[in-house]
């Protein structure tokens, strides 16, 4: 019997090898179909993976809920509201402190670097709030964080000189000269007489005599007049005050080379490395912050790349030097930052000792996340409690688009490719069997049973399916390799806070962007699916065709024209 199977195998091999064109066409068809299925599914998987990694922000940080306090802008018309309005005002004051007081930076002409830490749109918690949250039933863990918006300013302290020039003024004053007393007048007359002139008569022409000099008689000269005036009237004294005046001039700020760059900075409770705004799980290079909480920093990969920083680099924040100990890939979400410091260090830098503006909560089990969220909202009515789903909903960008496309179109394409591969395999197998009806009739005439004929053809289809599948896998891997090599970069970004909050000049929004290079991971499942499809298509169609032909009476099969 063994000899028979050796023959059947040889027959099979000969069919594939000696009908080379047909076999090659079949293999190419099957291979392309399988390759398409593999490539599309892999791309789709790649997108899913990128999405899971990037768009599921809180899961990555061991947290179910983030609690923040934001000013209630709609309460009582903004500033008018007693509680919310006050909070907004506080925030504005805190944020406006960034308006650089140039005079405090140093002498004009010197270079300065300064980092300002702003609370952005998040208010700080009262110390009792965190305690209150941790006492809520169903809360498994609570940790604090502080995320601030930093403005990094750098440049030369400018010199500011203003020159004020006032106008020249002429002041006119009219004053009546008082009449001389009788004694003075007598003295004057005596003086005039002595100098040889008639003195004016008092009373009748008193005043005029002074101006006109009198008429008739002897004419005293003008020098005599001034000599004879009493000393009191020889010099007139008067005091007057000009009206008070304020000079106003707008000074244009001087042109300087001061540059401002914004980044986000987060304070991490480094004593709780599995939970927080960044955790050990996100460290991609280097290590996590030491529990002791020294002057160490973690920086995000994107920020590191942008500023050519690496593990071991030093960050100078207003004179305090921090060593970069690790690079992290924080998931997108409300509380991701570019730079992470131990919480206490950041609090010191930002003069916010003991304060935090984000509380991360882990529920004791995933089933009570919703109830814990409600409980926190009830306990702290002014707090915003976000679950990972809500945070993910804020994320946008090409990754989200591609992911959405992949969810809908990718699935459809996979199905279409799969169906196409299957149909192609089936059609090729059917047509190949159809052309061999006479051959199959001959086999039956020679005494082959229906089962033997079907087995032989099914074997051929199976072999073609295997070869087509292998070819398809190779071709699919090639496509994937090409995608991975050219790796289109997709990005996702998350913006929290309102960029136009209360019309501040400084944007208080935090925007975190994460770029993911699209890769198509090759899964065994994907390969097996493609392979299985090729096998199944060929096998089902081959067997069906063979059965149809083999069921014919040999006489009918033989009558078929080649």
């Amino acid at each position: 019997m063994f000899a028979s199977y050796v023959f059947y195998a040889r027959y099979l091999r000969n069919e594939l090898l000696r009908r080379r064109t047909r076999t090659i066409v079949t293999l190419i068809g099957l291979g392309l179909g399988v390759a398409l299925v593999i490539a599309i599914s892999s791309l789709s998987n790649g997108l899913d993976r990128a999405q899971k990694k990037t768009l599921n922000p809180l899961a990555g940080i061991g947290t179910d809920l983030t609690v923040t306090l934001a000013p209630q802008q709609n309460q009582g018309g903004g500033f008018g509201g007693p509680g919310g309005g006050g909070a907004s005002r506080d925030l504005i004051q805190a944020n406006q402190s960034v308006i650089t007081d140039l005079s405090k930076l140093g002498k004009p002409g010197t270079h300065f670097v300064h980092d300002f830490f702003l609370p952005g749109t998040q208010l700080t918690f009262k110390r009792t709030d965190t305690k209150q949250i941790s006492s809520i039933a169903g809360v498994g863990g609570v940790t604090q964080g502080l995320t601030l918006l930093a403005q990094h300013q750098e440049g030369i302290v400018p010199k500011i000189v203003a020159t004020l020039k006032t106008q020249a003024k002429t002041i006119t004053q009219v004053r009546k000269i008082p009449q001389p007393t009788a004694a003075e007048f007598a003295a004057m007359q005596a003086c005039f007489a002595k100098l040889g002139g008639s003195a004016p008569t008092p009373g009748a022409n008193g005043g005029a005599g002074f101006g006109g000099g009198g008429g008739g008689g002897a004419r005293p000269d003008r020098g005599a007049f001034s000599k004879c005036l009493p000393a009191r009237l020889q010099k007139l004294r008067a005091t007057f005050t000009s009206p008070s005046q304020t000079l106003r001039q707008v000074l244009n700020p001087p042109q300087t080379n001061i540059t401002t760059t914004a980044y986000t900075i987060g304070g991490v409770d480094q004593t709780n490395p599995t939970m927080g705004i960044v955790t050990t799980a996100q460290v991609t290079k280097g290590r996590y912050l030491a529990v002791a909480g020294g002057r160490e920093a973690l920086i995000s990969q994107t920020y590191a790349a942008k500023h050519s920083l690496k593990v071991g680099s030093t960050l100078d924040l207003n004179g305090t030097k921090f060593t970069v100990v690790g690079l992290v890939a924080p998931p997108l979400g409300g509380q991701s930052a570019d730079v992470y410091l131990p919480l206490k260090q950041l609090q010191t830098l930002a003069n916010e000792a003991g304060l935090a503006n984000v509380v991360l909560v882990r529920a004791s089990s995933s089933s009570n996340v919703a109830s814990v969220q409600k409980a926190i909202e009830k306990a702290l009515p002014q707090a915003q409690v976000a679950s990972s789903k809500q945070v993910a909903a804020q994320i946008s960008g090409s990754l989200v688009d591609a992911s959405n496309i992949s969810k809908n179109l990718g699935f459809a394409l996979s199905v279409i490719a799969a169906v196409a591969a299957f149909l192609l395999a089936a059609l090729l197998a059917l047509s190949s069997v159809g052309k061999r009806t006479r051959e199959l009739g001959t086999l039956k005439a020679l005494g082959w049973t229906q089962r033997m004929v079907v087995r032989q053809i099914a074997g051929e289809s199976l072999a073609q399916g295997v070869l087509g599948g292998v070819f398809g896998i190779l071709f699919g891997l090639l496509i994937i390799a090409a995608v991975n090599a050219f790796g289109p970069t997709l990005s996702a970004s998350s913006t929290t806070g309102d960029s136009s909050l209360l019309g501040l000049g400084v944007s208080t929004a935090r925007t975190a962007t994460s770029s993911v290079s699209l890769s198509a991971p090759v899964g065994v499942t994907v390969l097996a699916t493609g392979f299985g499809l090729a096998l199944l298509g060929g096998l089902v169609a081959g067997t069906a065709g063979a059965m149809r032909a083999a069921r014919l009476r040999p006489a009918d099969a033989l009558r078929q024209v080649d």
Binding site: S4, Y11, K444, A445, L446, G447, W448, T449, Q450, L558
Partner: protein, 227 residues
């Protein structure tokens, strides 16, 4: 000699559109084991149809075909296949070799279901004088050579009946003569019954028993009963 075939009232109809073609129209026939029988007639006279009924390639529309006492119409497919395999050997006008198989492999096609036998296949090729061409593909052989391979294939399982349908139809007359010689000689050697359908009267004349067919019936020459 024992009666091998017993046919009574055998008819075969084909539906051709709305018309019914009576390919075989009530035939009675007895054939003894070891006979050399020629079925003679123009194409469409029913020779091929009769041959296919004798070789269990088809079932009659009417009547009974008894082969060694068994009614072929009543046997299940699996037993008919077994009969075709072990008891009958077919030779076709078109040779019907498998194009992707070599001469020896084409003989093995018949031997494989009974347990294989490359030596037996080679021995058969020797008997038909083609031992040297065992590894040639049909496309690389002449018509005569191909028909020899077909004869080797038909006889390889020592069948009790060899059925040849126009075995020389695609060959020149000299080659055709050789093929008939070979067929009759080997059949006699193996003790097989040979039934040859042909439209060539000269060829039919070589057979000890000739049956002329026309319009699905026996006509003229010889009696339908055993000689």
């Amino acid at each position: 000699m024992a009666i091998q075939y017993e046919l009574s009232g055998v008819a075969k109809f084909f539906e051709r559109g709305s018309a019914t073609v009576r390919a075989l129209d009530g035939v009675d026939l007895e054939i003894e084991a070891g006979e050399f029988l020629a079925l003679e007639g123009p194409s469409g006279s029913g020779k091929t149809t009769l041959l296919q009924l004798l070789g269990a390639l088809d079932r009659p529309s009417e009547g009974t075909v008894l082969f060694e006492g068994r009614d072929l119409a009543k046997l299940p497919d699996i037993q008919l296949a077994a009969l075709r395999l072990r008891s009958f050997g077919f030779v076709f006008q078109q040779f019907n070799l498998i194009p992707t198989l070599t001469a020896i492999e084409n003989v093995e096609v018949k031997l494989a279901p009974v347990g294989g036998g490359r030596e037996k296949a080679l021995q058969m090729l020797e008997e038909v004088g083609l031992a040297g061409r065992a590894d040639h593909l049909p496309a690389h052989m002449s018509g005569g050579e191909q028909q020899r391979v077909a004869i080797a294939r038909a006889l390889s399982v020592e069948p009790r009946v060899v059925l040849a349908d126009e075995p020389t139809g695609n060959l020149d007359s000299a080659t055709g003569g050789e093929i008939i010689e070979l067929l009759s000689g080997l059949a006699a050697e193996h003790g097989s019954t040979v039934i040859v359908a042909t439209h060539d009267a000269g060829l039919a004349a070589r057979a000890p028993r000739r049956l002329a067919m026309r319009d699905g019936r026996f006509a003229g020459l010889g009696a339908p009963a055993a000689a």
